[in-house]
């Protein structure tokens, strides 16, 4: 079982890869809309990638209002 810290790191790596930014440039507290300059659809695309990676399904409502990696990681962690 992954720890929350591991989950968070893996999410940061996935986001960095998807949006082609340096891995070390993202932090758990970052607002991913702002930091990555993405819109709500791109955030949903990232979520699909994260779901596939962790083999979980996260309903859309679970990410309503979530805009930082840390909270997103917590939501994923609760489904692992």
């Amino acid at each position: 079982m992954r720890t929350l810290q591991q989950t968070t790191q893996e999410i940061l790596q996935l986001a960095a890869k998807q949006f082609k930014v340096a891995e070390g440039s993202l932090n758990p507290e970052d607002d991913f809309y702002k930091k990555l300059g993405i819109d709500s659809l791109q955030a949903l695309e990232l979520l699909s990638r994260i779901e596939n990676h962790f083999h979980v399904e996260l309903p859309d409502y679970e990410v309503q209002g979530v805009s930082d990696f840390k909270t997103l990681a917590e939501r994923i962690q609760s489904r692992l």
Partner: protein, 570 residues
């Protein structure tokens, strides 16, 4: 289609539709790869009437208000019909709002009933805002786990009334819905929409974009949005068509749904349309050079042949691969909620996929103008719909002035706000606050706004004043939020941003600490409500005798400044 002139209310027309189209499929609900619900009009009626009976038995009466906060799904429409059947007024609220904002609107609308989904209720029930909305007497929650603590709510699925059911008639002038066009801050804008507003709008829209049994509409825009309520519920139902709901809006499932359900129409906001465009561009770029050249030739041929009007069978033949990826039955993409850039519209039209772009606002009963495609004009928002009187008033030398609308679809007014109603509807004419001009062929073109608001690409209306509460208590002498286009009119409907203007106290300087405080407060706002810059103003704000900021005068003062020099990005 039903002859809507025979009906006096939404409920009456829907009741007839459920009888007339009983064997037709009315709703499909899909969750990822699984089809969860498939209902005929007869099935729909069988699910809605027990709820209507239950509401009636629990004391719900004509004119009572019932709110729905749900994602797009079959139970949204079933609940809405049950409310209309009992003569109630529907208050459709945005499920994406924060719980405290939802409670605020529940209170403002004086709703006595709330129908919502379990995940939403989980957040609502623990929100501190709950205490204020004492008007809510009944909460029904869908899809709750069997052993869940519903915190005083009841499971929707158990709301089955028995015995006699009375259909409660309403007149055309009675209130059908209270629709919040925006405003969760100081002054919620609850548009009071009558039954006539919807009946007339439905006739006008379906005259250009007809529905019939077999037509499949993909419902993506939230149903609380005026567009989806009309073309994803009332319109298709009164024509016996099918509405497809998706429980997830991940782009890959949306793309699949076009093919799986052979969608006829879909409504999208510009953001999603641009995403589809981006996807198609990426696909085209991956084609081998020979195929890419062939595609370009066929696209140009299609463009030439469809110059005067769409020729769907021909376009589907010429650009088969593109049309197949949309299911092969798509007749038009309806785009609304915000301004769409002409090049995006033209991109789709050149591929043989007409985009029904138009112009509208909730206050006018959704659409005011729509492109009739005869010919397609990507540089305009189309001509006025039948029954719409549209004038451009106080035009300048270039013919650009405020767009004003008079029609049976214009709202009755803003709930609990006669002052704002009087400013907005003058002698029966709705003052839209949008600037436009008619061209020689009668098409309307838009050139910015004179309202202190922005509309995002996701179709969200954000009034600057509604964002200000996030900055209450900021350690500055005074502050104010503006839309950049209100200060520096741009004659553009895209790229609108919000700005925070601060006036520092005597001897105070703009420090990094203050900037950090502003950013922290800004980040607590929903992303589309955030300000994008700060202006440090060195003069006191003009105030009224009652110490309110005179925003137009302050905007005029700021407008004299060089925007590139004064805006500090956040």
């Amino acid at each position: 289609m039903l002859d809507l002139s025979n009906f006096s209310s939404i409920g009456e027309a829907l009741r007839e539709a459920l009888e007339t189209y009983a064997p037709e499929v009315c709703l499909i609900e899909s969750d990822r790869n699984e089809e969860k619900v498939l209902l005929t009009y007869l099935d729909f009626k069988a699910r809605a009437l027990p709820l209507a009976k239950w509401l009636q038995a629990s004391g719900f009466r004509a004119g009572d208000r019932a709110a729905i906060i749900m994602t797009n799904q079959s139970k949204w429409l079933i609940s809405a019909y049950a409310i209309f059947h009992g003569g109630g007024t529907l208050v459709p609220l945005d499920y994406k709002l924060k719980p405290e904002e939802q409670w605020q609107l529940l209170k403002h609308s004086d709703s006595s009933v709330l129908i919502t989904e379990y995940p939403i209720w989980r957040q609502l029930s623990v929100s501190p805002g709950r205490g204020a909305a004492t008007n809510i007497k009944t909460v029904l929650v869908t899809e709750a786990p069997v052993d869940a603590d519903l915190s005083g709510a009841l499971p929707w699925e158990a709301a089955h009334g028995k015995g006699k059911l009375e259909f409660v008639p309403r007149t055309r002038q009675d209130l059908a819905c209270i629709v919040y066009s925006s405003g969760t801050g100081g002054s919620p804008k609850g548009c009071m929409m009558t039954h006539e507003n919807y009946l007339e709008q439905c006739v006008a829209l379906t005259s250009l974009y007809p529905f019939w049994p077999g037509v499949r509409y993909l419902s993506i825009l939230p149903t609380n949005h005026a567009i989806d309520f009309m073309v994803g519920f009332f319109g298709p139902f009164t024509c016996g068509a099918t509405v497809v709901h998706l429980r997830t809006l991940r782009p890959e499932y949306v793309r699949e749904a076009f093919v799986k359900y052979q969608i006829t129409y879909v409504s999208l906001v510009p953001l999603v349309l641009k995403n589809l465009q981006k996807g198609l561009h990426a696909r085209f770029d991956e084609l081998p050079p020979s195929k890419r050249r062939a595609l370009d030739v066929l696209r140009n041929l299609n463009k030439a042949l469809t110059k005067s009007q769409p020729l769907l069978p021909l376009s589907r033949l010429l650009l088969k691969d593109v049309h197949t990826s949309f299911g092969g039955k798509l007749r038009a993409i309806i785009v609304g909620g915000a301004f769409t850039e002409p090049q995006t519209l033209q991109f789709f039209y050149d591929l043989g996929i007409p985009v029904a772009n138009g112009y509208g606002l909730t206050e006018a009963g959704t659409a005011v103008t729509v492109n009739d495609l005869k010919p397609f004009r990507s540089d305009t928002v189309g001509k006025p719909l039948p029954g719409m009187e549209v004038q451009v008033r106080n035009a300048d030398a270039e013919g650009i002035g405020q767009v004003c609308v008079r029609s049976k679809t214009v709202m009755a007014g803003y709930l609990n706000d006669p002052e704002m109603t009087a400013q907005t509807i003058v002698d029966g004419w709705l003052q839209t606050g949008d600037m436009g001009r008619f061209d020689r062929t009668g098409h309307l073109q838009l050139f910015g706004r004179r309202k202190n608001m922005i509309v995002t690409e996701e179709g969200k209306n954000v009034y600057a004043e509604d964002v200000e509460s996030a900055f209450e208590g900021l350690p500055v002498k005074e502050f104010c939020v503006f839309a950049t286009n209100y200060i520096w009119p741009s004659r553009s409907m895209v790229g609108e941003k919000l700005l925070l203007v601060v006036n520092l106290g005597p001897g105070q300087t703009f420090t990094d600490e203050l900037k950090r405080e502003i950013i922290a407060r800004n980040n607590r706002l929903t992303n589309y409500k955030r300000v994008h810059g700060i202006v440090v103003h060195t003069e006191d704000f003009p105030l009224t005798a009652s110490l309110k900021i005179v925003r137009p005068r302050l905007a005029e003062q700021l407008g004299k400044l060089d925007r590139n020099a004064v805006i500090v990005a956040v």
